[in-house]
Symmetry: C2
DNA sequence: CTGAAAGCGCTAACAA
DNA sequence: TTGTTAGCGCTTTCAG
């Protein structure tokens, strides 16, 4: 076995004929070093293929170096919903060139396996962004207890969770969708909701409901979905059974909206002529769908950058306020 | 600003009235401590909400604590192909309760952005598992230069890459598929390949080719795909144009096979009656597809555990041999 | 511009 | 069973 102990800064310094301090300066790009010394050190570094020991460096600089993106969902969900890839991408981008690792922590805390909680309590990361928080996942409690700097992407469900968050006004977004449907002339407007143990699911339902009520329409056409295509398809079927003369539909995610359009097609309804459909997210699927989806904008990557921004500040010990981002409606073909 | 400096083991020890060493023992679960001391220390830990400093611990134990799963693909790809979620899940499982972080490093090295290389060279992780390595991604070179312990999941394309890997015999798998098609009576057998800048793509093509040749059949019906559904659909269309009497099809991934079945349906062909289709991966999509997919088993999660196993040993300084896992064919409805 | 020296917080012999 | 004592490899004053 290569009993080669990894070369240390000491070795580099020796080889370059300078002190450890000077070697350190060169390695870290400190300008106050003579050219000759710099060259010598750099040469030694490559010859020895020296790599600084992160732990040692970190111990003294006290620099943070990893944040967790926490997603209390099965890895299956995580990898099939574009929402998560968008978030992860946004986080990565926002971190830019900061030398910080992003650790993706997935897992369903419901099914007895407490790996996520253990991980978070283990102090393996310097901060956390919680992405798809549900009513019962207790994440806010764990986070509060460990005092791990953290921010929620999406308002936490529990009011006790006094953690900073970034969100959009989901109710307002849903209201936009409902209003568009009503103004289009729809009178039997249904909705396929998101998970109701998430604030986004609740808020979107509420926005739809209040808008319909204000217009004097019935709000009984509610079917529960879970943001996934499969869930959306089933919910649409149920809606169609209950109300064959449905003429407008608000789905709380694009994935569900696309599935709904498929289901509607199977049932012989034309979109938007027979049933107008509005989705939520303005994901890639919205433009690729036939007909293209009218949908509410969910600024995922902005939310991700804001979350990173907040988190960095929390890690700095700052006290920050929640951020609410604006939303809007994109009108395409489906409504 | 909570100018609170984080409590150290020293503080805990003081509060518990023991020495730092004893406190350390308690924190690390060393059994050789008196019950009273243990209780006192634990109390102090919670009161002070003490969390060990990882950097300090690591500095002395020299224990590794994070490995990268490197995927030179766009995040879009990564999040839409079940192969990657399977791999990631397998890696996570195999790591079990080892206190090691898994860092997902994605990115397309082709498009000028060298973040991945920088990251790898930055020494941010203690090892790497490279998942979807392409001919030109130069990963093996970077890895060799940095001497970062690493293993490839899938044989590296470049012969110069003398890194350990785990793989299945992709050619044998493809041969299984081709033979099944031939024995079924197919005479005009086409294939939709994977990316040909990956060893898996190449090997599967070769296995198909050799088997057809051995049976005295034509091997001209080759269309290039890229493992994705969209790529598979397009390739199938081209195949159908070139050869309307196609009666057998081997697709190098389940995603492409499912897309092919869809495309075949659009073109008025019945599966398997008019065209028999065999996929590759035995992913979840294979059982959900209508008709259910006959497909070659790709033991993703076993490969992932083996990769972890090898990597751990490489990180220990051991020299390891590549591992080749067995494969097989699962016959369902599509062929 | 450079070097000497002082730790960062922790674990692991070694003694007691 | 416990405490004492050395560092782990690095950065950073502080003198020179």
């Amino acid at each position: 076995m290569p009993a080669h102990p990894a070369p240390t800064l000491e070795d580099v310094a020796a080889r370059a004929g300078v002190s450890r301090a000077t070697a350190s300066r060169v390695v870290n790009g400190d300008p106050r070093v003579r050219e000759a010394a710099r060259v010598a050190v750099n040469a030694a570094v490559t010859e020895l293929s020296y790599r600084p020991n992160r732990a040692a460096r970190r111990l003294v600089t006290r620099a943070a170096d990893s944040i967790a993106v926490v997603v209390p969902e099965s890895d299956e969900r995580v990898f099939s919903d574009p929402f998560f890839s968008g978030t992860l991408r946004g986080v990565t981008r926002a971190l830019g060139s900061l030398p910080m690792q992003v650790v993706l922590v997935m897992g369903n805390p419901d099914d007895g396996d407490h790996r996520m909680e253990r991980y978070l309590r283990g102090g393996h990361t310097d901060g956390a962004i919680v992405v798809s928080h549900h009513q019962n996942d207790n994440l806010w409690r764990v986070l509060a207890e460990t005092q791990l700097p953290s921010v929620f992407l999406g308002r936490p469900y529990a009011a006790e969770a006094r953690a900073p968050y970034v969100d959009v006004d989901n109710a307002a977004g849903a209201a936009l969708a409902a209003r568009h449907l009503i103004e289009r002339g729809c009178r039997r407007v249904g909705t396929v909701t998101g998970p109701l143990d998430m604030s986004a699911g609740q808020d979107r339902l509420r926005g739809w409901q209040e808008t319909l009520e204000a217009a004097g329409l019935e709000t009984d056409l509610v079917e529960h979905g879970d943001f996934t295509a499969a869930g959306g398809a089933e919910a649409t079927q149920r809606l169609l059974e209950r109300c064959p003369d449905l003429d407008g539909l608000f789905a709380a995610s694009d994935q569900m909206a696309v599935a709904a359009i498929g289901e509607l097609g199977v049932a012989g309804r034309r979109v938007p002529d027979d049933v107008a459909v509005v989705g939520y997210d303005d994901s890639a699927a919205a433009t690729m769908s036939r007909p293209a989806l009218t949908t509410v904008v969910n600024p995922i990557s902005e939310m991700a950058s804001r979350a990173v921004d907040l988190l960095l500040r929390v890690m700095d010990g700052e006290v920050v306020e929640p951020a609410i981002l604006p939303t809007g409606l994109v009108v395409r073909e489906s409504a």
